[in-house]
Each structure stands twice: as structure tokens, then as C-alpha cells.
Symmetry: C2
Subunit: 197 residues, 2 copies
């Protein structure tokens, strides 16, 4: 009886917490908000988590794990077109990262929280460093095939691609209007600009 029930309760709490945090941010969400959303009492929740900070850390960590998984899944995959990389990472077809506007909103909150939590910041940098490696590898393979000028460090291109993803997430979370197809279209156009001067 215990094992699976305990895990289910934990999930119930984390899911409720995520909904609250998406709606109101970490620090503007009170424990009472969270308890109401989870339909649980204070005593019950505190049996599973030691403090509110623990719950914040757990939800944030889970979200980052999803991001890491989304990038790791592309590692070693047959090298797609370079803008397909963006597609993948925008999660047009890959649910975890881009799930919906809620995921984007939550990630923005995580960024903000990482600005004041050293441990969260460390974990975030870790995840992004790994992702940079994966994307950098894809870029390098394109360079070997001559589809991209080879005299620029692959990491620099990877940084730009990942910044595009972050920027897209911001637009989806904050501004609302973020159509992946239109975005891809714009990027495609940008990628065909001739060298300057």
C-alpha cells in the first residue's frame, strides 16, 4: 500500500505546485494557495516536503530535467537540416520542452529564481552546458559537410541557436503570439543573407 500511494501523493503535490507557480510565480504563491490547489492539508504536504523551498526546488529541478532530456534525445541522431535543429528544440513535435505556453511560463520563472538561488543556478548552467555540447556537435557535423563555414567555433553557432530557443520561449510565455511556423520562416529568410560589404 505505501510505496505507490506515497509516490502518487508526491506527484499530486508537485503538479498542484506547478500550476500555482505558473499562475503566480514562486514567491507570490502562498502555502495556503498551494494547499487549496492540491486539496490537501498543511500537515499532509509537510509530510512529503520539508519546506516550501524544497517544493520550489523539486518542481524547478523536474522542469530542468525535461529540458535536458529533450536535448539529449537529439544527441547522435542523424544530422538534420540546421533549421530543423531549431524545430526540434522549439519542440514543434517534441512535447516535453515546449508542451505549451505553460512550460514556457514556468521556465521564465525558473530563470528568475535562478538569479537568486545558487544551487538552482548551478543546475541550470549544468543542463545548458550539456545542451551546448549536443547542439555544438550537430553544428560541427554540418561544418564537416561544408554546409556551414568552418572557420567559426561550433559553440558560437550553438550559442546563437540556443539563444533563439530561449528567445522563442520568452515570446511564447510573455507576449503570447509565437507561431513556430512563422518563426521558422523568418529564420529561414535570415539564414540566406549574403555576406556584408
Amino acid at each position: 500500500m505505501p510505496k505507490e500511494h506515497l509516490e502518487a501523493r508526491r506527484r499530486q503535490i508537485l503538479d498542484a505546485a506547478r500550476r500555482c507557480f505558473v499562475r503566480n510565480g514562486f514567491h507570490a504563491t502562498s502555502m495556503q494557495d498551494l494547499l487549496a490547489e492540491a486539496e490537501l492539508s498543511a500537515g499532509a504536504v509537510y509530510r512529503y516536503f520539508g519546506s516550501k523551498d524544497d517544493i520550489i526546488a523539486a518542481t524547478a529541478s523536474e522542469a530542468l530535467a525535461e529540458v535536458a532530456a529533450a536535448f539529449a534525445a537529439d544527441d547522435g541522431a542523424p544530422p538534420p537540416g540546421l533549421d530543423d535543429v531549431v524545430d526540434l528544440v522549439l519542440g514543434v513535435e517534441r512535447p516535453p520542452l515546449s508542451g505549451s505556453r505553460e512550460s514556457a511560463r514556468f521556465l521564465v520563472q525558473v530563470w528568475a529564481e535562478a538569479l537568486r538561488s545558487p544551487s538552482l543556478s548551478a543546475r541550470l548552467k549544468e543542463v545548458m552546458a550539456e545542451a551546448r555540447g549536443v547542439v555544438g556537435g550537430l553544428v560541427a557535423r554540418h561544418q564537416e559537410r561544408g554546409q556551414l563555414s568552418a572557420d567559426v567555433p561550433p559553440e558560437q553557432v550553438a550559442d546563437v541557436l540556443m539563444a533563439l530557443v530561449d528567445g522563442f520561449l520568452v515570446r511564447r510565455a510573455v507576449y503570447g503570439h509565437a507561431d513556430p511556423a512563422a518563426f521558422r520562416n523568418g529564420l529561414r529568410a535570415l539564414m540566406s543573407v549574403p555576406a556584408p560589404r
Copy 2:
């Protein structure tokens, strides 16, 4: 006596508030933190601002005004190279927007806060819509000169450019390592990718 002194006090409070908010976020900053940073008493601060929310709104609004000004300054300017647009907007030479890591951090906090404040969200969308118009205009002029394929709506390209800026800000704020020159370099490489397939 009154006029300029009042304005100076207001500035003193807003500057202190900004420092606090950058350090700890809006809601994890207490009034006492703020009072200590401003070296003022509660009574003094509440003479200038009605509530903590007013202070949050004022600092956020000020930051957005700086962003708007940075974009507006480029309107009607002689059309630079398309990656120069990115330079401008990254603020390599334009202090207000990119000032430093602190500005980027503060903007991330503003994004997060906009997720729960309708009025701030509205103001943010307003500013970004205007910026989109400016950048879209620059893109359109490039299209007229044949420097960019003309069969794509300028706004779509503008969205990508602005997402790049947002993404760059995230990286500067959160991950620390964000060298504008390297970024520009990576983007330059990306912009010379031949058409796919």
C-alpha cells in the same frame, strides 16, 4: 527647495529598489531590505510611493521605457547592415538596454512579473509591438534593396531578430558568459547557410 529635492529622493528610492530587485527579485525583497538599501525610514519612503506595488511598477516601467527608447532611437536611422541591427540592439555601444548584466537580470525579473501582472504585461506588449514595428521597418528596407528575400513578411524576420535579443539577454543574465562579439560571429556564420535540401 521642494522641486528638485523631491525628485532626488524619488530617484534615490528607485535606484535602491532596483538594486534590491536585481539581487533578490520583486517578491523576495522586503520593504525593510529596501529601506536599508535606500538609507531611509519607512515614513520617508511612503511619502513618495503609496505601496510596494507602486515601487515595483515604477521601476519596471522605467526599465521598459529604456528599452523602448533604445529601439526608437534606431527608427529612421540610415539602414545599417542586418547584423548591425543586432549589434545595436544588443547594445554593444548603446548603454541603456544592455548596460550590463544587471540590466539583463532586471529584465528577466520584469518578464516573470509580467506573467502575473496584467498592467505590466500590457505595457510590455505595447513596448515590444512598437519595437517590432521599428525592426520590421529596417527589415523591409533591406528587402527593397534585395539584401533579403522579399517573399517573407518583414515582421516574421523582425520576430526572429528580437527573439535573438531576448535570448542573448537571458544568457547574459542567467548563464553569465555572453560575449557580444562571439555571439555576432556565430550569427554571421548562421546567416550564410545555403538553402536547404
